[in-house]
């Protein structure tokens, strides 16, 4: 049984959106979930790390580049997506500076299944350190759907402190969208903890510049 109800979340989100309207910033504020843990020892308990796919896109401005075979390059072009073909990648000649530039230009990459096995040969480890190794995409999948899937997926990892902050959306989303994202995130993350709700000390929701609102 979840200890957080959708209506409680809605109340908080209304507050957050109001606060964000009252003090408008020149960027779209992220909505962040902060989880305080208890009865958990990062030094010896199992790692708390992974990704969550949210029902609604949390980072709409995330730029995704397609590393495509002929089929996907055509599809990308038609969809107005940025792309690089095998030949484009070969032209980089494994030049580290150019690869670094490519890595910096986009937030994420998808690569045709046929191409992804060539990535180490074409680009070396250039995309690894920055966490941008491509996600595979097959001919049967839609490129735009895949890109949105990436924009809706967030990483989380608890390191040394007992607090985890996770971006679950932004203030431009509707209340319903934010509620769906928050409920899924909370229930998913709690389900990963050994003692579930007994491992949760507190839950706060806030916008980037706003004050934290307690959920639990």
């Amino acid at each position: 049984m979840s200890k957080v109800s959708a209506s409680a979340v809605r109340d908080v989100i209304v507050e957050i959106k109001k606060g964000s309207e009252e003090k408008k910033r020149n960027f779209v504020e992220t909505v962040e979930l902060q989880i305080g843990l208890k009865n958990y020892d990062p030094q010896r308990d199992k790692r708390f790390s992974g990704t969550i796919k949210l029902p609604n896109v949390a980072r709409p401005n995330m730029s995704v580049c397609v590393l495509g075979d002929a089929f996907h390059c055509d599809q990308a072009k038609a969809a107005g997506m940025e792309f690089q073909s095998v030949d484009d990648l070969k032209k980089l000649n494994k030049n580290k500076k150019l690869i670094k530039k490519l890595a910096k230009r986009y937030d994420a990459f998808v690569a045709s299944e046929a191409l992804i096995k060539q990535i180490p040969r074409l680009l070396g480890p250039g995309l690894h350190k920055v966490g941008k190794f491509p996600t595979p995409v097959s001919h049967a999948e839609s490129l735009t759907d895949k890109a949105n899937e990436i924009r809706a997926t967030i990483k989380f990892q608890l390191k040394k402190v007992l607090c985890l902050a996770v971006a679950v959306g932004h203030v431009g989303m509707t209340e319903d969208q934010l509620i769906a994202n928050v409920m899924l995130s909370v229930n998913f993350l709690v389900s990963l903890l050994k003692k579930h709700w007994q491992n949760v000390k507190s839950l706060y929701l806030k916008s980037t510049m706003g004050k934290p609102h307690r959920l639990f």
Binding site: R44, S49, I116, P120, P125, T135, Q157
Partner: protein
């Protein structure tokens, strides 16, 4: 089933293993404890590491290795009477994973990603001289969680990380730009990865979200078993073990009550073959399975090590 209770109720057993003389456990108090393999009576403790022992592995009947967040990788000679390491490899970063290659010429250690450094490294050591041969600084963007050296090719290995990647390498010339053979992106955070198959042509990975998949070494998906928690009685994976003599692959899983379920890994099917219950009362963190003697050891967060006999 025999039960070895450390008596330190608030310590966790991390890794368990055994050779012909001893049954061995590493624990969260930074000690490695040796017990007589027959009587299960305590023999000695190895006190050396000053920080968490991230991994302990038995290399062969004579040598045990331990790696720690104190930056040291230690080799222990189980045939000597000494309680000091026979060899120490010192590194400047906390070590979170390691392995030693098949001909004992090279040790590979992986590090944590630390905020002020923002990179995780792979350090390659010459085991004949304890010296650092090389390091890779670009292959992983976050904590290295597991390393496995190829069972018969001394220059090949697999590493995996919380960055979601499983990399396989051939490091004949230590050229990081050229040495990566294949990369699998799990899309998540990988806890364990390794080779399996009679010719070690395949690899498996387990993620921190408790998903499990098999791939060819080239990077083609063989089978994705998805979320293991969907299996009744399973809360997490403990390890994936390959029995060389029968060419069978096993998945060891556990639940939060301490019950262990062992599965045959078949294509598209996980077939439960044995349940070990009545031993542990909390999360089981490691398993050692001797397929010759069919004895199994498990260690867990209840501070216990349990010895079991597997059914044929």
């Amino acid at each position: 089933m025999a039960n070895i209770d450390f008596g330190f109720k608030d310590q966790y057993v991390f890794d368990v293993t055994a050779n012909s003389q001893y049954v061995i456990a590493s624990a969260s108090d930074q000690l490695v404890r040796l017990y007589d393999a027959n009587s299960l009576q305590p023999v000695t403790s190895l006190a050396f590491h000053q920080k968490r022992i991230s991994k302990m592995k038995l290399y062969n009947d004579q040598y045990l290795f331990t790696a720690s967040e104190d930056g040291k990788l230690a080799r222990w000679d189980l045939r000597s009477q000494s309680t000091a390491p026979a060899q120490v490899f010192q590194y400047t970063r906390p070590l979170s994973a390691f392995d030693v290659n098949c001909n004992d010429t090279m040790a590979v250690a992986g590090t944590l990603n630390e905020e002020f450094v923002q990179t995780a490294e792979l350090a390659f050591f010459d085991t004949r001289q304890s010296s650092l041969l090389h390091k890779f600084e670009e292959s992983h963007g976050d904590d290295v969680t597991d390393i496995q050296c190829h069972p018969s090719i001394p220059s090949q290995l697999i590493s995996c990380s919380t960055d979601g990647l499983v990399n396989s390498y051939d490091v004949k010339d230590f050229d990081e730009d050229e040495d990566i053979l294949a990369v699998i992106n799990s899309g998540s955070s990988v806890s364990k990865a390794g080779y399996f198959g009679p010719d070690a042509n395949y690899m498996f990975y387990l993620t921190h979200l408790e998903t499990f998949a098999l791939y060819t070494l080239d990077g083609d998906l063989v089978c994705d078993y998805g979320q293991l928690k969907n299996i009744e009685g399973v809360d997490y994976a403990i390890d994936c073990l390959f029995d060389q003599t029968t060419s069978r692959l096993y998945l060891a899983t556990g639940n939060n009550n301490g019950d262990v379920s062992l599965f045959h890994v078949n294509i598209n099917e996980l077939q439960r073959c044995q349940v070990l219950s009545g031993g542990h009362t909390d999360v089981v963190r490691s398993i050692y399975w001797n397929h010759t003697s069919q004895s199994i050891l498990t260690g867990g967060e209840d501070g216990k090590m349990c010895a079991w006999q597997a059914v044929q």
